[in-house]
């Protein structure tokens, strides 16, 4: 029957996403994560305005292992979203849409995000 030969759109359960597509959905996920991360930023800034004791509480939480894991995720999400966001701005100009160019940019984004995260933590710790 002709209806069985119709092309299907990529189905997420059987279609292996190419790296560019994985980075695309990661851009959205990091964006949502960073929005929740702003709670931490707002807490930090507000506590500082309330005073020394409140600020020390935030520092104690961020220095705990759960705080450090959150900050590690926060920093990588931030740098990934920053690097991939710059790639999106190039796309907005209509550049770098060719397959080999997107693949090269994928690598740049991943290495850039990892390097910036590593550099930040080397300076902090």
């Amino acid at each position: 029957m002709a209806t069985q030969n119709r092309p299907l759109s990529p189905h997420l359960q059987v279609y292996r996403l190419p790296l560019t597509a994985l980075l695309s959905i990661t851009h959205r996920m990091t964006g949502v994560g960073l929005t929740f991360g702003t709670l931490l930023l707002a807490w930090w800034v507000t506590a500082a305005a309330y005073g020394q004791a409140e600020y020390a509480q935030v520092q104690a939480f961020l220095g705990s292992w759960i705080g450090l894991i959150l900050l590690l995720g926060f920093s990588f999400a931030l740098f990934f979203h920053l690097c991939n966001g710059i790639r999106h701005l190039f796309w907005d100009f209509g550049s770098y849409f060719e397959l080999h160019e997107t693949r090269r940019a994928d690598i740049f984004v991943l290495i850039g995000a990892a390097a910036l995260t590593a550099a930040t933590w080397v300076m902090v710790l």
Binding site: R28, G31, V32, L34, T35, T38, L39, L41, A42, V45, T46, A48, A49, G51, Q52, Y55, A56, Q59, L78, L82, G85, I86, H88, L89, D92, T120, M123, V124
Partner: protein, 131 residues
């Protein structure tokens, strides 16, 4: 008589250029404007956090007590929360199909973003003015 035979759009619709959503590229454009502004602001904030990371409350107050730092931080907070709210709207509109739920989530995100932005900015101003 010169008529456009390739488009079904009315001349008025074409001149306004807003499309069916009646807002044109406003949302898309603001997302880009805030994104471009956030590139240098984010790098400045990361550098500030690295500089403050080893120190306590006193260092925070001294750093954000300086007018240029307070200005950059307030700009970051305003632009970042605006960008977050714009992005979350796209996310919610793409993945939440229930109409009422979509509207409720959009309202919640917008109120939360502007509430947190205002709270954070007032906090920086409190420090900057030394209250």
């Amino acid at each position: 008589m010169t008529t456009n035979t390739t488009s079904l759009r009315s001349a008025l619709g074409h001149a306004r250029g807003l499309g069916s959503a009646k807002e044109g590229t406003h949302h898309w454009w603001l997302q880009r404007v805030t994104a471009i502004a956030l590139v240098p602001l984010t790098m400045w904030l990361v550098a500030s956090i690295i500089a403050l990371s080893g120190f306590g409350h006193e260092a925070f107050v001294v750093w954000f007590g300086r007018p240029v730092n307070a200005t950059l931080m307030i700009l970051f907070l305003g632009v970042a929360f605006h960008h977050a709210q714009l992005g979350m709207q796209v996310f919610i509109e793409d993945y939440v199909s229930h109409h009422g739920m979509r509207t409720a989530l959009n309202l919640l995100v917008k109120f939360a973003c502007y509430g947190l932005a205002t709270l954070s900015i007032v906090s920086i101003l409190t420090i900057a003015f030394g209250a």
